[in-house]
Amino acid sequence: MNRLRAWCLAPTASVLLTLYLAPLAILLLYTLLTRGAYGGTSLPWTIENWQRLLDPLYLVILGRSFAVALVSTLICLLLGFPLALFIARSGPRRHIWLYLVILPFWTSFLVRTYAWMFLLRDTGLINSALLALGIIQEPLPLLYNYGAVILGLVYGYLPFMVLPLYATLERLDPSLLEAAADLGARPWQTIRRVIIPLSLPGIRAGSLLVFIPCLGAYLTPDLLGGGKTILVGTLIQNQFTSARDWPFGAALSLGVMAVVMLLLMSLIRRQDEGVL
């Protein structure tokens, strides 16, 4: 039995080792090297790349990325929770709603982000319509700002919030909601004192699933934020392309990973202690 298990796990384990751990090890090695003249890395060994992470310039970008990811996650939670609750309580039709939630995945994220650009730009659908109706005289600056980036992130990652929330809410015993109403709780009190506390695992899972990719997002900030919004994903990408500073790019990547890991671990610890 143990032998069978080992054989079954072998493909997964080898994929993870070669495609996941090995690049990480290489990345770690890069952080300790000096940048090459045309990209790449060269000797001598140094820890300067790690020291540069503490430069206020980069700390500000990191902080800004956290803020954008946090705001996007909160908006996803505020939009996703009522939606997930609605789907979970809509009986046999809930499968249709769930299907609609994951429908956007059928097309490429890149294509969908371009669609947003067509909607939001100065000559886009929204501005043209408002101009034609005479509601505005000048196009609204809808694109190339943090608002557009957050909109894009919320749009892209909302399903990752809705699905785990739905999974916990769907398992919620309906008689608990009846009991709460029976004991005098109004609907919003039932939500606050029964539904939310009992769906914390889903809230936690959904928030992590949204927050982590939002923090490292590159495509959305780049396309919808233009050059005006430098977030950490763009910063890392720049290091490997235009800046040709692979060791610093590697240090930035691992630095963000480390912060996310620490955050995760503290969340898990608090969960074990029953705080969250």
Binding site: A179, A181, D182, L198
Partner: protein, 321 residues
């Protein structure tokens, strides 16, 4: 007598199906009233209509003369003990009991802490106050559920088969406690059950429901001894049907010799005798073909398989339908 709860022409249809068909009931203050019937008879629907979880298709619910139709569950001063107890798993026993008091329209009452303490002491769960439902036994969960409802001093307490989730040994004990509790608090209990023994032993009065219709209302004695329908007779206990006349097994007598006097006696053959400890169930086949069970005492002679006997009963012991 003042009626605390009145149902008038109460009906509930789910599509074509009538779950409850024009039910009329009036329950006086302080009564232990049971709704008895098989699953699908409409008893749980009735409870849900009173609690406000469902709206009636027709008819009215009155609580102390006040029409409840259209009011949300949290606007009705009735409380429900759910079959599965529906305790909030993230709250301790005490927090569960406090839940309703926190949502009173007037806010947390001044005497709330004492009421919670009293309820926990009355139900002997004060030492379990800090436990979560997952750490409580079935009996303890039930007490928490009862305390959670009683602490609100509802005008009617609705109990949805609260004993069915308990193991059989505990059930009888809890049954007795429930009756004592009801006498002590004096609150009207509306008890839903499919178990005729529970209904008979607990209730002041019982309503028997069948397929959404009321069969009969009466005291346990009335229902058991003077059922008006064949269904009510059969649901409250076993009946021997002989030529359209119903006789309970314990009223059915057996004799080896032809009994004298003005009694009905019918010849029969013993088919089986089952020893149950406190009594013996003798199964016999009448010469007219009917199958009869007689519950006889071991002091009234022994009956063996294949023996020729006389089945008889005293005048007036038959069920007058």
């Amino acid at each position: 007598m003042a009626h605390v709860l009145e149902l008038k022409g109460l009906s509930k249809h789910f599509g074509e199906h009538a779950a409850l068909d024009s039910l009329d009931l009036a329950i006086p203050e302080g009564e232990f009233f049971s709704l008895l019937g098989p699953s699908g008879c409409g008893k749980t629907t009735t409870l849900r209509l009173i609690a406000g979880f469902e709206e009636p298709s027709a008819g009215d619910v009155f609580l102390h003369g006040r029409r409840l139709n259209g009011l949300r569950p949290y606007q009705r001063n009735v409380s429900t003990v759910f079959q599965s107890y529906a305790l909030f798993p993230h709250l301790t026993a005490q927090q569960n009991i406090e839940f309703g008091l926190r949502h009173r329209p007037g806010g947390w009452p001044g005497d709330a802490a004492r009421r919670v303490q009293d309820a926990m002491e009355m139900l002997q769960i004060a030492d379990k106050a800090e436990r979560k439902p997952a750490e409580l036994s079935g009996g303890e969960k039930q007490r928490v559920a009862l305390a959670r409802s009683l602490v609100l001093q509802p005008e009617v307490l609705l109990l949805d088969e609260p004993l069915s989730a308990l193991d059989p040994n505990l059930r009888k004990q809890v049954r007795n406690e429930l009756k004592a509790l009801q006498r002590r608090v004096g609150i009207t209990f509306l008890f839903i059950t499919h178990d005729q023994e529970e209904a008979l032993s607990l209730s002041d009065r019982i309503a028997v429901l069948n397929q959404g219709r009321l069969e009969q209302v009466g005291s346990p004695q009335e229902l058991y001894l003077r059922p008006r329908t064949r269904f009510a007779a059969g649901f409250l206990g076993p009946v021997n049907w002989i030529n359209g006349i119903g006789i309970r097994p314990e009223a059915t007598q057996l004799a080896h010799a032809q009994p004298g006097g003005a009694v009905r006696a019918l010849p029969a053959t013993v088919e089986n005798a089952i020893f149950l400890g406190n009594c013996i169930h003798v199964e016999a086949r009448l010469t007219t073909g009917e199958h009869v069970v007689a519950e006889v005492s071991r002091f009234n002679g022994t009956f063996q398989r294949g023996e020729q006997v006389h089945v008889w009963w005293r005048e007036g012991d038959e069920l007058a339908l």
